[in-house]
């Protein structure tokens, strides 16, 4: 009897600490291998910022006043820090930062992938120099920056400022103000419902697919890349298209006008009004072509 009791006690003494270690590990494992999850209560409009080095960042807006973070790191010598303000109560400001614990960490081990579900009213600042960024369904202001990664943003209604040195930028169904800049990357705007859109790239191409809003201002500028506009025949806009070394090819009916103070140098330009000219569209390229054509 005594021996049995001792034996049971011993087993319990061994198993309980073991379970204390194994259970969290099992829960983490259930979330996905190497995945770490964190949830923070926030206000409805917190400020969220993220500094990553390399990897994929996905940010989605949701209706909860919470930030739910899931991340994986490619190396134990990489860690993710979170800084939350204020210290108590719903967070008004959260900053996530990927830290290299070893400066000599090989490039392929510097990867941290993030998935963030955040309140739709949160303002965002994301920097992911060597990785891609995808954002969906947000309503507040955002600044998104990458160096080599592509950036894709869908259904965003705040003021959006997007920079990528070499990555492509895709903005789908934005309804706030949009500013998108790249050097060698392409810019792609799809179905914008925004009244202020500014896109600029040096050697990339610009493709705008959608309608122009009444009283909207659209400024698209490429250097050596082409600028393509594909819009419905019912679109109403005043057009200024200028290229120095390329061509302007327009296949939509246009009431042409002469510009009184035309900038010198635009060897190929088209100034005119399509339908009633409710929006203002300014397209420029130095050596690329500019094409305006109707949607099929």
């Amino acid at each position: 009897m005594n021996r049995a009791n001792v034996s049971l006690k011993s087993v319990r003494q061994i198993l309980l600490p073991l379970m204390a270690i194994l259970l969290p590990a099992a829960l983490i494992g259930a979330a996905g291998e190497g995945q770490i999850e964190k949830t923070f209560d926030t206000t409805r409009e917190p400020r969220i910022s993220l500094n990553n080095v390399k990897g994929h960042v996905l940010v989605r807006g949701w209706g909860k006043a919470q930030v739910h973070l899931v991340y994986t790191v490619a190396s134990p010598r990489l860690e993710v820090d979170s800084e939350i303000l204020p210290n108590t109560g719903p967070a008004e400001k959260i900053h996530f930062e990927t830290h290299l614990l070893d400066a000599n960490l090989p490039g392929n081990e510097q990867v941290a992938d993030y998935t963030l579900d955040i309140p739709t009213g949160a303002s965002l600042e994301i920097r992911n120099p060597q990785g891609s960024i995808v954002m969906e369904g947000m309503q507040a202001d955002a600044s998104v920056q990458s160096v080599g990664g592509g950036i894709s943003i869908r259904d965003y209604s705040g003021h959006l400022t997007v920079h990528s040195v070499a990555g492509d930028i895709e903005v789908i169904r934005p309804s706030g103000t949009v500013e998108a800049y790249s050097i060698t990357g392409n810019l792609h705007f799809v179905s914008p419902a925004t009244t202020k859109l500014h896109g600029s790239t040096t050697s990339g191409r610009i493709l705008f697919e959608g309608d122009f809003m009444d009283r909207g201002d659209y400024i698209l500028s490429a250097y050596s890349g082409d600028v393509d506009i594909v819009c419905p025949p019912s679109a109403s806009y005043e057009l200024s298209a200028k290229t120095l070394k390329g061509k302007v090819i327009n296949t939509l009916p246009m009431t042409r006008r002469r510009e009184s103070a035309s900038p010198r140098g635009a060897s190929n330009s088209l100034l005119g009004t399509h339908n009633t000219g409710k929006a203002t569209v300014e397209l420029t390229s130095f050596s690329g072509n500019i094409r305006i054509r109707p949607q099929d």
Binding site: S49, E125, P129, A142, V147, H159, T161, V165, T202, S203
Partner: protein, 304 residues
Amino acid sequence: MEEGRYKTFAACSRFDVELEAYLEGEARPFIASHARQCGSCGALLADLQSIRQAARELPREEPSGVVWTKVRARLEAEGAFGLPNCSRFEDELEAYLEGEARPFILSHSQDCAPCGALLADLQSIREAARDLPREEPSRAVWANVHARLEAEGAFGVPVSGWRQILAWRVFPHAIPVGVLAALVFLGSVLTLPSSSIQSWGGADEAANSPAVVRVASAMPAGEDGALARVVSDLEGNFRANEASMAPDLKATYEKSLVSLDGSIQECLDSLQHEPRNTLAHDYLLTAYTRKAEVLSSALEFEGR
């Protein structure tokens, strides 16, 4: 007799008039002389001086908060802090001018002449401003405004431009501080007339820099030379630090810089043939600005 009574009455009246000023410290010799001649006025003066003396000797007591609250409430009720309607007018005026429905503004401006005059002035200024022709500032002006606002930290979220990268962690690093200063300088230079820049030799010095010798020969104006010098300085910093940069990141920056250098060179060639080609000049300024931004970004990320 009658005349004497009249003189006495007149003197006492004068005493009454001047007494307050005398008690407040003004030099009024008549008061003292009349007090000596007139028993009743002398007694009044003596009483007042003794009261004042006694008051001076009283201990100083701070009234309770309740007393002050009551005093303030009473004063407010009497309009001592300004008319409540005028205060409300001031509070709502900005919103009204920005297009919000504020019926109180119109009704109060009809009842209150000063507020009505203020509203009329502001509306006439607004009308006059609307009639002004719309002028689009040059890129140079925007660049300067943008650089200065960024330098002053005027942009929170949303953040725009590579320069915010600097703002985030600018102080621990000397290079980004220099870059930021250079960008401010870049913006400033853009707004200066060409003659000013030429007077401090921007174009000549820029032309002497090895990094811009190739482009300097084609420079049409001093401001572009000064810009080239700023970009050249940034590029010098970049080259000095590029070894510590991650190889793939460095390759990305190199590719972008090649692209920008190509556009700068092409613009300069165009300007050499057509010095007044404004489109080429605009693109040149944009390319320099973009290059400065890319270099700033690269300097920030070096070592990562």
